[in-house]
């Protein structure tokens, strides 16, 4: 941050729920379908149609609210937000106005070890609109279009809106929030939360103010952010832009700005002649929702272990912070990890292998951890072989690679690749004796207190045994024998 200004940022997130059917009708939630093939009188806004809320969608939003430490309100209503747009079938959107399902939550975001608590103002339910394609010159941009084509497949898909307090002070925090929210939503199983596909969308409200000033500056809203990276970049850009405006003696205009990924800039939108008056009123086609204490209790009890709690648990098991984060992020990796630990494996060892070799393998091959031949038992077996001295740490990595390639379980791979260490003490003893015998002056040095030749001697033994002697054992034996000889 330059020039004594601080950024004040709030994030609005829309999450498309992955229910079977739409929010107010029984049409399937199906994003790949040909245009206008998943529509009915309700989601098309045909005369006489009526909305009926999807119970599973309501369960989902309550779980999202609970996961964000919100208060689940006892009494909630649906409202109509009235405006005209061709992709809005009824020319009003069913949403929630002053009585949303969930309010007053918090979430912690961690940036480089520093944790900030972000307030969640509200979580409410609404219905998604259809999609418009703008046809004409200019490649899909609306104001060059000659006409537009509308597809209502998406109209009526359940949409959860999560609004934070303006508690973010940096783009990094915002991105960390976005990532954590994505994790939570996926862990709840309510949405696949893919930004590229639009099942999770972010808008950021950004303003700046001189450090120490309490009053908020004028804010702009930034839209069209399609990835977490864009979220961070867009916010960073907009903050700098606003500071630049203020430092240049100008004023920030309250407007919506569009993020352009290619140019890395935000641009002001064509302003509407008048700001819209949405004339919110309670939707008379829907009845209020009462979420009693018992229901609230069931919702909270149904929550899975959430990312923050899981990371803490992994840290408690001895896993380092970065690995813990990775294991929480990747469902498949995490599942193998959990099973390995449950089967008696050492957490840190399993974590290191998973976040090391396994991740490297999946990156190289593009194969998902869930689709490899690796099972939790393999990790446990591998660990036992290392502890028993049958494999060196390096050899273990090779064996792991073989297991991932589908060559079999660790014992099979180790044998096939001839990686099993010699840890038979008589064999090693003999080899060590031989090498010591050939390197008398090295032995002298060791006896005199110089440890350097040990490595060379270990190397000799390793060469003589084709690399298969247990190097720890060799090293200990060399040291022991060298010092004992007299």
């Amino acid at each position: 941050m330059t020039s004594g200004y601080e950024a004040v940022i709030g994030i609005e997130t829309h999450v498309e729920l992955q229910t079977n059917s739409k929010m107010f009708c029984g049409c399937a939630v199906d994003f790949g379908a040909p245009p206008n093939t998943v529509c009915c009188p309700v989601c098309l806004g045909l005369p006489g149609s009526l909305p009926v809320p999807n119970q599973e969608a309501i369960e989902s939003i309550l779980r999202i609210g609970a996961a964000l430490q919100c208060r689940l309100v006892d009494y909630s209503e649906f409202h109509r937000k009235n405006y005209f747009y061709p992709d809005l079938p009824k020319n009003y959107q069913i949403t929630q106005f002053d009585l949303p399902f969930c309010v007053d939550g918090t979430i912690e975001v961690d940036v480089a070890g520093e944790t900030t608590s972000i307030g969640i103002t509200r979580v409410h339910m609404e219905e998604d609109t259809g999609k418009s394609l703008h046809i004409g010159e200019g490649g899909g941009r609306i104001h060059d279009a000659k006409h537009s084509l509308i597809d209502f497949n998406r109209a009526g898909v359940p949409l959860v809106e999560i609004v934070t307090e303006p508690d973010f002070r940096s783009a990094e925090q915002a991105r960390a929030y976005g990532a954590e929210l994505q994790r939570i939503v996926r862990m709840l199983g309510v949405s696949d939360a893919r930004l590229e596909e639009g099942s999770m969308r972010f808008d950021a409200n950004i303003s700046v103010r001189p450090v120490g000033r309490e009053a908020f500056g004028t804010r702009s809203e930034v839209k069209n952010v399609n990835s977490l990276r864009s979220l961070q970049r867009a916010i960073a850009f907009e903050v700098e832009r606003q500071i630049g405006v203020l430092e240049g003696g100008g004023t920030v205009v309250q407007e919506t700005r569009h993020w352009n990924e290619a140019t890395g800039t935000t641009a002001g939108m064509r302003s509407k002649e008048e700001s819209e008056d949405y004339r919110y009123f309670q939707d008379p086609d829907l009845v209020p929702l009462v979420v009693d204490a018992e229901w609230q209790g069931r919702v909270r009890a149904s929550l899975p272990e959430l990312p923050a709690a899981r990371r803490r648990r992994y840290l408690g098991l001895g896993v380092d912070a970065i690995s813990a984060g990775q294991l929480v992020d990747d469902e498949a990796l995490g599942a193998i990890f959990e099973d390995a630990v449950a089967a008696g494996g050492d957490a840190r060892t399993a974590a290191n292998w998973l976040t090391g070799e396994v991740v490297a393998y999946t990156r190289r091959t593009g194969i998902d951890p869930a689709d490899t031949s690796l099972e939790a038992d393999h990790l446990v077996a591998l660990e036992e072989m290392v502890d028993a001295g049958k494999l060196s740490a390096t050899a273990a990595k090779d064996v792991l690679a073989g297991v991932l390639e589908g060559e079999g379980d660790p014992a099979t791979v180790a044998a096939a690749r001839d990686l099993i260490q010699i840890s038979d003490t008589r064999v090693i003893d003999a080899e060590v004796e031989a090498v010591l015998g050939e390197n008398a002056d090295a032995v002298e040095k060791i006896r005199a207190g110089d440890g350097k030749p040990i490595g060379f001697l270990v190397g000799q033994v390793m060469r003589a045994t084709g690399g298969k002697a247990d190097p720890r054992m060799v090293s200990d034996l060399i040291r022991e024998k060298a010092q004992a000889e007299s």
Binding site: S21, G26, T37, L44, Q55, H134, R141, I150, V287
Partner: protein, 102 residues
């Protein structure tokens, strides 16, 4: 006193393109109606909750079950204009999706 209304603004909000003389007539008529409707304002209602539903019903849901959608031919059969399976409309002025300059 009849209520004074910015009828042009209301017509715009309601997306009804009225001619000037019609606007004037409606403005007057609305003013007269509202003058009578203002009668309700004289009733004391502090502490009285609004009624949005005549019968106290709550928690009316449906299960998350997929039911058949309409055939696309039925969907488009009443459309004033359609193309390639889409509804077709003239260009949209107030997009809200794309920047003014880009």
């Amino acid at each position: 006193m009849p209520v004074d209304i910015d009828i042009a603004k209301v017509a715009k909000l309601a997306r009804v393109a009225l001619a000037a003389e019609d606007l004037e007539l409606y403005g007057r008529q609305l003013g007269d109606i509202l003058e009578h409707a203002e009668l309700v304002q004289s009733l004391p209602t502090e502490g009285v909750p609004p009624t949005s539903h005549p019968l106290p019903m709550t928690n009316s849901f449906r299960p998350d079950v997929v039911t058949p959608s309409l055939d696309r031919d039925d969907v488009l059969s009443q459309a004033p204009d359609h193309e390639d399976g889409y509804f077709r409309v003239p260009r949209i002025l107030d997009g809200g999706e794309v920047p003014a300059d880009g």
